[in-house]
């Protein structure tokens, strides 16, 4: 009986035999390449990382296909992080950077560019841009986009897109209330009045909010306020202009009840409220059009940001910083890939599906962009409002700062007090100023 027993010894012998066979098989030489194949050098692999999503992956597919056709000596590889846009992408990028396995080129998100630049993560691109003027086409970038990529006089990224923020409004709700659509002359007061008129309350429940939360950065800038001084050593949130902007934001939620407060937003975010037809207008970038195209029940459109009390507007730009990792072993090839992704043709291939805003002046003049088909867009202002704000010089990116992620976190946490009215705007501004100055040190 014991002869047929599967003993530990048998198990170890069989495992050893299996491992040995595998090792031997791995040592067998592969077939020798033909003379023609041997003459061709192996293409250099260059990787590129973005957060990634179904739409983003589809957008980039033709970009990489064309790149690999144009540069057969380079194998450009699209390697999405699979995290979506948010902190998870930053976590993955940071882990890869610290582990020495970062992609050759990658996209940096809002709140991280200045912090990473401080740690010498990026290759300065000035020389590459000078060496490759045809691939870079530098003068064609919007000024605001290029400025956002320069830190301490060094070009550390190329902008592969960059979305200014505008107002998206529900045209059917505006029509039903007999209100004029927002346009270039619309002011904060007009938006407040429209927000109140569009708000519908049923008992204790607000079924329709008239207006979304204004973005704090663009609102403060529009009124002439600043978050930091020019060299980033002092917080400026307690200026009169910034406080006035904060007061207006607070009035929408606390005084008028026309913008959703924290409780309402814990239930449904602004984007979902708008697509469900229960929000009159909200602040969002051109790229929101990708998601808004699914709307079937009402007409909508885009408008420029309203004019502040000081009579000006400044929209926040969300830049798609495309950089080369300082640890890359193939920075030359990586630059060619980055330049291609940011080139007019590369951007056209990607953006033609409607999910982003180009960083190129020439692209917004082209027919495919100007005549972009949007079934439910009321007047197709979506195709000119955003670039027009840029051409008027009304776009600006967050100035890079070594502590930017901590500063942004402090402000977003502090704004809780603004939205629920637990602190007057001036008090909040003073508290935030002290906290941010402490962060800056």
């Amino acid at each position: 009986m014991s002869k047929g027993k599967f003993t530990r010894r048998t198990f170890l012998q069989m495992t050893g035999l299996g491992v040995s066979t595998g090792l031997l098989a791995a040592c067998v030489p592969v077939a020798a390449p033909s003379a023609e194949e041997a003459a061709m050098p192996e293409p250099v692999t260059v990787t590129f990382m973005v957060p990634g999503s179904t739409n983003e992956d589809a957008d980039f597919a033709p970009v990489f296909e064309e790149f690999n056709n144009r540069y057969p000596e380079i194998d450009g590889q699209y390697t999405p992080a699979g995290t979506g846009y948010g902190q998870a992408y930053n976590d993955k990028l940071l882990t890869m950077l610290s582990g020495g396995t970062a992609p050759d080129t990658f996209k940096t998100l809002f709140g991280y560019f200045g912090s990473l630049a401080e740690k010498n993560v990026y290759v300065p691109l000035d020389d590459y841009a000078a060496q490759h003027p045809d691939e870079t086409v530098f003068d064609d970038f919007f000024d605001a986009h290029v400025n956002a990529c320069i830190i301490k006089g060094q070009l550390l990224a190329l902008p592969n897109d960059g979305a200014p923020e505008g107002i998206w409004y529900n045209a059917d709700l505006y029509d039903a209330a007999g209100l004029p659509y927002p346009d270039w002359d619309t002011t904060w007061s007009d938006m407040s009045a429209a927000g109140t008129a569009l708000t519908q309350v049923d008992g204790s429940i607000t079924t329709h909010y008239g207006i979304g939360h204004p973005n704090w950065l663009g609102t403060i800038w529009s009124n002439g306020g600043e978050i930091l001084n020019e060299d980033g050593t002092q917080c400026m949130l307690d200026s009169d202009e910034a406080i006035e902007a904060l007061e207006w934001m607070q009035s929408l939620v606390v005084d008028d009840g026309s913008a959703p407060g924290p409780e309402a937003l814990s239930e449904l975010g602004m984007f979902d409220r708008f697509t469900s037809g229960t929000l009159g207008s909200f602040w969002c970038v051109r790229g929101c059009l990708g998601g808004l195209r699914s709307i079937e029940d009402f007409q909508f459109d885009a408008a420029p940001l309203p004019l502040s009390n000081s009579g000006s507007r400044l929209t926040r730009l969300l830049i798609g910083w495309t950089s080369i990792w300082s640890g890359s072993e193939v920075p030359d090839e990586a630059y060619l890939l980055a330049a291609w992704i940011c080139s007019p043709e590369g951007q056209r291939l990607r953006i033609s599906r409607g999910y982003a805003h180009p960083s190129r002046k020439s692209l917004v003049e082209q027919d495919w962009y100007k005549n972009y088909e949007c079934e439910r867009c009321n007047s197709h202002a979506v195709n000119n409002v955003f670039p027009e704000m840029l051409l008027r010089g009304e776009g600006r990116a967050w100035p890079a700062h070594p502590n930017e992620s901590e500063i942004v976190q402090a402000i977003t946490t502090g704004l809780d007090s603004l939205w629920d009215g637990s602190k007057p705007a001036a008090q909040l501004a003073a508290d935030l100023t002290a906290e941010i100055n402490g962060i800056i040190g």
């Binding site: 740690k119 409780e263 309402a264 901590e406 946490t413």
Partner: protein, 302 residues
């Protein structure tokens, strides 16, 4: 009896270490190694991307005396643990007692109660966001039937932590399985003995069931404390620490420092503070166990 120095004993010992080696290696590489590293980083200014800079006790000094957010995070985390762990034990024990009876479809009920605890944290967090939705969420819709206006739950600074505690009860299924095992290990002759003595159900529970399952309660209490103090996913997904830092748990604050603010050295200090806190509470529970945990066959003098 195999002599200790025999070849067979040595081979047995070697094989034992060999089979345990994957776990041992994993433990050394992925637990002990990072702990040693974090102990070093705690004394440095380290942003993960450049060389750490020795700063001595500065990070500890800041965390313990100069950072109000640490106090807030420890307070929030402690309240969560102090309230949620007893509630989980109480609810888990009640359900286990119900499931320990002979009723039709018992296996089905046991599965139903256990099922929620196998769902991923992210899915559960998203589900509870809808349950807590102020206007059309499950709870407030129910309250509205009685003309009660429910609170804003996760969006209300006074209710956000309570909401998190309520949500923690979703995971009692894991504890129920352990309570059931404990309940079924109580010898039936003990119940027969108290019945002969004329004791009712309440007395049987109080004098037989409860003392006999105290080792199980003890285990669940220790594990519950350790798990509760490390709450993270729910806070990150549902509230991101807000509103007004009402749900700023210590691990969330640690994570922000490490990955958002590039302060891995400071985050390491927070990790060690949490480690010390958990160790202290666990030791306290261990010390107290001599008074209230009874093991079969053990004699305790009052």
């Amino acid at each position: 009896m195999i002599p200790p120095s025999s070849p067979m004993r040595r081979r047995e010992e070697r094989d034992g270490w060999l089979f345990a080696s994957p776990w041992l290696l994993g433990f050394l590489l992925f637990t002990v190694g990072p702990m040693i590293a974090s102990a070093f980083f705690a004394f440095t200014e380290y942003d993960v991307l450049t060389q750490p800079k020795w700063v001595g006790w500065a990070n500890f000094d800041k965390a313990l005396t100069d950072d109000p957010k640490v106090g807030q995070a420890l307070k929030v985390t402690s309240i969560y643990a102090v309230v949620s762990v007893p509630l989980q034990i109480l609810l888990g024990l009640c359900v286990a007692l119900m499931l320990n009876t002979r009723i039709r479809g018992l296996q089905f009920y046991r599965t139903v109660y256990y099922l929620p605890s196998v769902l991923s944290g992210v899915a559960v967090a998203l589900l509870w966001r809808w349950i807590y939705a102020p206007n059309f969420g499950l709870i407030n819709s129910f309250l509205a039937r009685f003309d009660i206006v429910g609170p804003g739950w996760l969006g209300d600074k006074d209710w956000a932590l309570t909401s998190m505690i309520g949500m923690s009860l979703w995971h009692v299924g894991g504890g129920i399985v352990i309570y059931l095992a404990g309940l079924q290990g109580v010898p039936s002759e003990l119940y027969e003995a108290v019945r002969v003595d004329g004791a009712g159900r309440g007395a049987a529970f109080w004098h037989i069931t409860l003392p006999m399952i105290t080792p199980v309660l003890f285990y669940n209490l220790v594990i519950g404390i350790i798990t509760a103090l490390q709450i993270f996913t729910q806070a990150l997904i549902m509230t991101n620490g807000g509103p007004h830092e009402a749900t700023l748990f210590i691990v969330l604050y640690l994570y922000r420092n490490a990955f958002q603010f590039f302060k891995m050295g400071y985050a390491s200090v927070l990790a060690w503070i949490l480690f010390g806190y958990i160790l202290m509470l666990t030791l306290l529970v261990y010390r107290s166990s001599g008074f209230w945990v009874f093991y079969a066959g053990e004699l305790k003098s009052r």
